[in-house]
């Protein structure tokens, strides 16, 4: 089965993600892909704590994640993939990880970013990455919570 939902969320696992999205997409495993997280004991402890009961968790670097997915490591699971940034998600896609849909849920305001909707602020680099993902035929949405519109992110750009 592998990846059933892929989300860009700056806060990685938090209330909305842990309770609402995991439940909505029916995930059995959350895979957090972030190069900083794998080296940071505090982030790891936080992710473990935020993980909903009964769901498995993997915390992987970009490189290791691409290898694992391509090996078919999670075929038995329904994976909910989370990255912190759009470029990280684009990198996984470019590395050949099979992702059915990307949802840009929560990206905070930064230097050089503009709000495309509430809770999603993209830089030019982010937008280029979104277009790259779209160009590969993968739908991209921008839903903070599941009952927001699942229209294409293109409509917000």
């Amino acid at each position: 089965m592998a990846i059933v939902h892929a989300r860009v969320d700056e806060r990685l696992i938090h209330g909305q993600v842990a309770m609402v999205w995991t439940n909505t997409v029916g995930a059995t495993r959350i895979v957090v892909v972030n190069d900083a997280a794998v080296k940071d004991e505090l982030i790891i402890a936080g992710l473990k704590m935020a993980k909903p009961a009964g769901v498995k968790l993997s915390i992987l670097s970009l490189k290791r994640a691409a290898e694992k997915f391509k090996e078919g490591a999670y075929e038995e699971d329904k994976v909910f993939l989370i990255t912190k940034s759009v470029p990280d998600m684009a990198r996984l896609v470019a590395d050949g990880v099979s992702i059915p849909l990307v949802n840009v849920g929560n990206v905070a305001k930064r230097e050089g970013s503009r709000p495309i909707k509430k809770s999603v602020n993209l830089t030019e680099q982010d937008e280029a990455c979104v277009k790259e993902i779209l160009a590969r035929g993968i739908p991209v949405t921008a839903q903070m919570i599941p009952n927001e519109s699942s229209q294409s992110i293109e409509n917000y750009l």
């Binding site: 209330g15 909305q16 309770m19 609402v20 439940n23 909505t24 794998v38 790891i44 402890a45 473990k48 993980k51 009961a53 498995k56 968790l57 993997s58 915390i59 992987l60 670097s61 290791r64 919570i145 599941p146 009952n147 927001e148």
Partner: protein
């Protein structure tokens, strides 16, 4: 669909609802009933009755009251004892209980079952933080995979 009513002292109900809205979006088949202590119990009873009236299309109603034994709870209990069998009441409402009930009601059509499952889910999430012991960390290993 089972309707949900949250009720409590002051603006507990609308406050809890603002949390739910942030996590799960604008709720439907849902009512928040605040109890202003300046108001009489008659007003609270009427507000709860009106909320139940707006949920009359629902298969049943789960009422979450903030404080077991408080006026919102007692009023709901009196209304139930007055002959509402498809109404269940939980005392000690919290966001974990509410969120679980809100999401589980898509799969559960019996209000008594919904009340029990969301109560258990809420209890399991009412905790005092403890730094994980080495034993617990070892037990977690099959569930948590770190980059290697």
């Amino acid at each position: 669909m089972i309707g949900i009513i949250v009720t409590g002292h002051g603006t507990f109900a609308t406050g809890l609802t603002s949390g739910l809205r942030l996590l799960a979006g604008e709720p439907s088949d849902y009512e928040a009933v605040d109890f202003d202590p300046e108001e009489s119990l008659e007003v609270l009873t009427e507000d709860l009755q009106n909320a139940l009236g707006r949920l009359k299309e629902c298969e049943g109603v789960l009422i979450l009251a903030d404080l077991t034994g408080g006026s919102p709870y007692n009023t709901a209990v009196r209304m139930k004892l007055g002959g509402l069998d498809q109404v269940e009441i939980i005392g000690g409402a919290s966001l974990p209980i509410l969120l679980d009930a809100y999401m589980s009601r898509n799969m559960i059509s019996d209000p008594a079952v919904l009340a029990r499952t969301s109560l258990e889910a809420g209890k399991s999430q009412t905790i005092c933080f403890e730094a994980p012991s080495e034993k617990a960390a070892a037990e977690e290993d099959d569930e948590i995979e770190l980059d290697d």
